[in-house]
């Protein structure tokens, strides 16, 4: 018996040695949404046919800790459908993170129940009271929710002065563009309100796709201007769109505004993805005004000078040069556009050099730069889904529901498509839109929450064992805005310097929350962490242990 046990043990040893660390994939996603309790669908538009462009864009998701219990919660924006009875109109959903791998619907309790053609969401503590607030944009009136700190929210839209009738509002971001310590607000708009439901399929030249009549637009439809609100510091906002100069650019079907200090001058700038029109890059003039330099900076168009569909925006430093890069997702028969920051105020379309030009079959939306395997390099996660459900009746080889994509960052500015090896949840096909990532279960690796139209959301967990070490930073401003939005971090691991900024929203219509996740690879600590605050303050910490969430206060340091 004893001899047999030794033989068995030896055999097992051989087996385990064969499958040693390094042979197992370090990215392997499985969908745990059902087990987690995310069982209610996001309703958005018709399932088999969509008559109007309004029915196509979908919604976003925010992952943020609304009750400050240390565990990020999930907020899903819900949409609507044409001709729904009032009683059938679905509500937005807030799921409380129970801490045991499950989530509980607390929407009603939190007073966040609201119906309508929801679009995007963004988070930020606009009144600096220590509780993260929430904005939800709509086709129609936006809703600003003040977090009361007791597990509930209050609709303060009217009081705040951010209601702007007659807009198809799209993406949003809180940011402190004037660095006065109060979070301002940018809301992109997609189309003129009436255009959203005005044109019948096939009724014009922009209403057909490969011979098939489909919803019209956006080409040929009327734009509407993006809106910039300045925080007055008293719970109200002022519309400074015209004064700021952002309305000088008029031909943008705006989707996603993301904030970034692209030139590292300490002032936050703004990139807006624009559908079928040149993207915008507003350089902060530091005077409360902005100049659109998208064309000159090289982010308005692709390398062939062509306008692209431009939906979601991933923001991050993928090549570890300290400067923020952008990846914009596009229509099918096109590639995403990777804009590498040249560190001189311009960008270069590096899609092909980075080997991201091989897949043209996807119509993509949410996208994030995230270190999925925690090796210290930002990988790429993209979700997709066609615009026209009618495509499933068309004999073309595309489909309405599409698989996800994972690209592993190999270093040297190159990615590798590892979608086929990244687990069953990546190959699963859905009509996806919003995407956000956060460490929802506190194990240091990032989960992904995905909005799927007319379906339950996906909650993807990376089950791979062989991931690198990690560290999570949670910043809190005191002179700067409380959420630390705009704070820039440079984290040194070994010889590499990673960088990131706290931002209110990105991807498509979504928010990755306010914490910053860094992979440490084989290292157990960050050699150096430098924080540059919006106020101008700068902090440096050395030899910070990993495998934990580190709270950094603007004046008090690590707590």
């Amino acid at each position: 018996m004893k001899r047999a046990s030794i033989l068995v043990a030896l055999g097992l040893f051989i087996v385990f040695t064969f499958f040693k660390a390094g042979d197992e994939p370090s990215i392997h996603f499985e969908d745990i949404s059902s087990k987690a309790g995310l069982t209610k669908p996001v309703i958005y538009g018709g399932e088999k046919q969509q008559k109007y462009i309004l029915e196509t864009t979908g919604t976003g998701v925010a992952l943020f800790d609304y009750n400050e219990d240390g565990r990020p919660d999930i907020f899903l924006v819900n949409g609507s459908r044409l001709n729904l009875k009032e009683s059938d109109k679905p509500s937005n959903l807030l799921y409380h993170n129970e801490g045991d791998g499950t989530f509980r619907d607390v929407t009603q309790a939190a007073k966040l129940a609201h119906s309508g053609w929801g679009q995007a969401t963004c988070v930020g503590d606009f009144d600096n009271d220590g509780w993260t607030d929430l904005l939800v944009t709509y086709y129609g009136e936006n809703v600003l929710y003040k977090n009361l700190g007791n597990g509930t929210f209050l609709d303060v839209s009217q009081k705040a002065g951010i209601q702007h009738a007659g807009n198809w509002n799209s993406g949003c971001s809180f940011w402190d563009f004037d660095r006065d310590g109060n979070l301002d607000l940018i809301v992109a708009t997609y189309l003129d309100y009436k255009e959203a439901t005005s044109h019948e399929p096939g009724s014009g030249p922009n209403c057909r796709w490969k011979g098939m009549p489909v919803m019209c637009g956006p080409m040929g439809l009327k734009h509407s201007p993006n809106v910039l609100y300045r925080n007055n510091g008293d719970g109200t906002f002022s519309n400074v769109s015209v004064a700021s100069g952002i309305t000088k650019t008029t031909d943008c079907y705006g989707f996603m505004p993301v904030t970034l200090d692209y030139d590292l001058d300490g002032w936050p700038d703004l990139f807006v993805s624009c559908d079928s029109t040149p993207n915008l890059l507003y350089r902060n003039n530091r005077t409360g005004t902005f100049t659109d330099i998208g064309m000159e900076a090289g982010v308005a168009l692709n390398e062939d000078g062509k306008e692209q569909a431009s939906m979601g925006v991933a923001v991050g430093d993928y090549n570890l040069d300290g400067y923020t890069d952008l990846l914009v997702t596009n229509f099918s028969e096109d590639t995403p556009a990777l804009y590498q920051n040249n560190r001189d105020g311009t960008f270069t379309d590096s899609t092909y050099s980075a080997k991201l030009g091989l897949n043209t079959q996807f119509l993509s939306w949410g996208s994030v730069f995230a270190d999925l395997d925690q090796d210290g390099l930002n990988d790429l996660f993209i979700v997709s889904g066609h615009v026209y459900p009618e495509v499933d009746q068309h004999p073309s080889e595309t489909s309405y529901k599409q698989a996800r994509q994972v690209y592993r960052n190999l270093g040297e500015g190159i990615f590798s498509d590892i979608s086929a090896k990244s687990g069953p949840a990546i190959g699963a096909q859905r009509a996806s839109r919003g995407l956000a990532v956060e460490d929802l279960d506190g194990d240091g690796s990032l989960e992904a929450v995905i909005i799927n139209l007319n379906d339950t959301p996906s909650l993807l967990k990376n089950m791979a064992k062989d991931k690198g070490n990690w560290i999570m930073l949670r910043l809190e401003g005191s002179r700067s805005n409380r959420s630390a939005i705009g704070a820039r971090v440079q984290l040194t691991v070994g010889s590499r310097i990673q960088s990131n900024e706290v931002r209110s929203a990105s991807s498509f219509y979504s928010s990755n929350g306010l914490r910053l996740h860094f992979g440490l690879g084989k290292e157990s600590e960050a050699k150096r962490i430098e924080v540059n605050w919006p106020s101008g303050a700068r902090q440096v910490f050395e030899n910070v242990k990993g495998s934990r969430v580190v709270s950094i206060h603007e004046t008090q340091g690590i707590r």
Partner: protein, 483 residues
């Protein structure tokens, strides 16, 4: 892909409507013409010789020519010229012989010495003009043909064909117009006149000529097809479609009409309707390569890449030499995300057709997409050496040079591109970047402004029409295609 442009040389005599002795193609009919002329000229010269008393040499030469003994006839004539080097008839016959052998320098020399004969022989004057053209003396050729009697209808017609072959369609038109009243085959003259007008971009005149032909009861597949294309070029799409549909009804086995109609329907974003017509044509002509190729293209535009691949493979099987089909197959593989297979196919094409620029160009694009910039550059450089007048090759090369920060080389390529094609958005956009890096702010802004204009044009026209317009402009400035 090769387009079935009506200005392709082989279209210059309509198939099935033969000039005397011709087998359809212009080049063939022209070659057939020479022996007849020899015979005709020979008889004339013999008569003249009888008058002049120098009958023996000419008689002998004439006999030899009738027997097909051209070398012997030539020897006799050369012998005759030893005694009288300026003998007009002898020189004329020797000129004809040299001409029929395509010894054009010689032909010119002999014809120069036979002006008195040429003066009375319009067809010989045409041959003289052709010999002059072949030796580069275009102005002299023009002068010769200007001397043709306006009523010499056949000679005027042949002169028109000559200019058409050499790409001077306006001159061709002038001669065809003169031939029109007296040429014995009205269908032929109307068609060729219209074709010259079409090729010269005079679409209204082309349509008018063909409408006149129809009113006279002259009708053929060629006429209807050309009329359809002419209407289309004039923007009269409804009339064009109507004519082409009529052509299809009347001549259901003429594949050109299906191809022309479907091209229009694609431009009008009516690809599904186009597919119905192509399938109709393939029902009658299931092994027609042009129809299969057109259907494959249609299918790709509808996103049905696998089906397109099947059609392309069928054409490749039928015609192993078809570069168009293999390039189309490569496109369908690319669309199906099978770039590696496309690369293999194209690399094979570069070996089997080393003088064809297009596979190299396409490989350049593919290697760029794969991030293999050095390989891309090698292929594009080769493509440019084979065909320097394609803007896209230069703009892609410029892009690569710019990525390597080789500014002056980049600018050189990009400026070439935009000069070749003023609608090359890539070229202008990359130029704006290059100029900015050089510190040439104003030039950069001008280039950006051009990009904005082109993008606006594309938005207004729609991408299909914008690309069609680019192709037409390119075709008008450059008639040679890849295959």
């Amino acid at each position: 892909m090769k387009s079935s442009s009506p200005s392709s040389l082989e279209n210059f005599l309509p198939r099935g409507v033969a000039a005397e002795g011709s087998r359809g193609g212009a080049a063939v009919s022209f070659a057939c013409r020479a022996p007849r002329i020899l015979q005709f000229v020979g008889a004339f010269l013999l008569f003249q010789a009888l008058l002049s008393g120098q009958s023996n040499f000419l008689t002998t030469a004439q006999t030899y020519l009738q027997q097909g003994r051209v070398d012997d006839a030539r020897k006799v004539l050369l012998e005759m010229l030893k005694e009288n080097s300026g003998h007009a008839q002898g020189n004329a016959l020797l000129g004809q012989i040299a001409f029929s052998r395509e010894e054009f320098q010689q032909a010119v020399a002999y014809f120069r010495k036979s002006q008195t004969v040429i003066a009375g022989n319009p067809l010989m004057r045409v041959n003289f003009a052709e010999a002059l053209l072949e030796t580069g003396a275009t102005d002299l050729a023009k002068r010769e043909l200007a001397q043709l009697p306006p009523t010499a209808a056949i000679a005027q017609f042949e002169a028109g064909l000559l200019w058409a072959r050499h790409g001077d369609f306006l001159s061709a038109e002038q001669h065809f117009l003169k031939a029109k009243a007296g040429y014995p085959k009205p269908q032929v003259i109307h068609y060729n006149l219209a074709l010259a007008q079409y090729s010269a971009g005079k679409f209204a005149e082309c349509s008018a000529t063909l409408d006149e032909a129809r009113r006279k009861g002259l009708r053929s597949g060629d006429i209807l097809n050309l009329l359809g294309q002419s209407y289309s070029e004039s923007g009269k799409n409804a009339e064009a479609a109507s004519v082409l549909r009529q052509a299809i009804r009347l001549y259901p086995k003429d594949e050109r009409n299906y191809v022309s109609l479907v091209k229009m329907l694609i431009e009008d974003d009516a690809a599904a309707e186009g597919l119905e017509f192509i399938n109709m044509g393939l029902g009658l002509l299931p092994k027609s390569p042009p129809l299969l190729l057109q259907r494959a293209y249609l299918l790709m535009s509808l996103g049905r890449n696998r089906e397109a691949e099947t059609d392309y493979r069928r054409v490749v099987e039928m015609d192993k030499a078809s570069v168009t089909a293999r390039i189309g197959l490569a496109f369908s593989l690319i669309q199906s995300q099978r770039q590696t297979e496309a690369i293999t196919l194209l690399e094979e094409l570069t070996k089997s057709h080393p003088g064809d620029y297009f596979p190299y160009y396409l490989l350049g694009e593919l290697y760029t997409r794969q991030g293999l910039e050095d390989q891309s550059m090698a292929k594009l450089t080769k493509a440019a050496s084979l065909q320097p007048r394609i803007a896209a090759i230069h703009s892609n090369l410029g892009k690569l040079y710019l990525k390597k920060n080789k500014l002056s080389l980049a600018i050189q390529e990009l400026e070439t591109a935009t000069q070749l094609d003023p609608s090359d958005t890539t070229g202008f956009y990359q130029l704006s970047i290059a100029y900015r890096r050089m510190g040439e702010k104003q030039k950069s802004e001008e280039a950006v402004a051009q990009v904005r204009r082109l993008n606006e044009m594309e938005r207004e026209l729609g991408t299909s029409r914008f690309l069609t317009r680019k192709l037409k402009n390119f075709r008008n400035s450059f008639n040679t295609t890849s295959n």
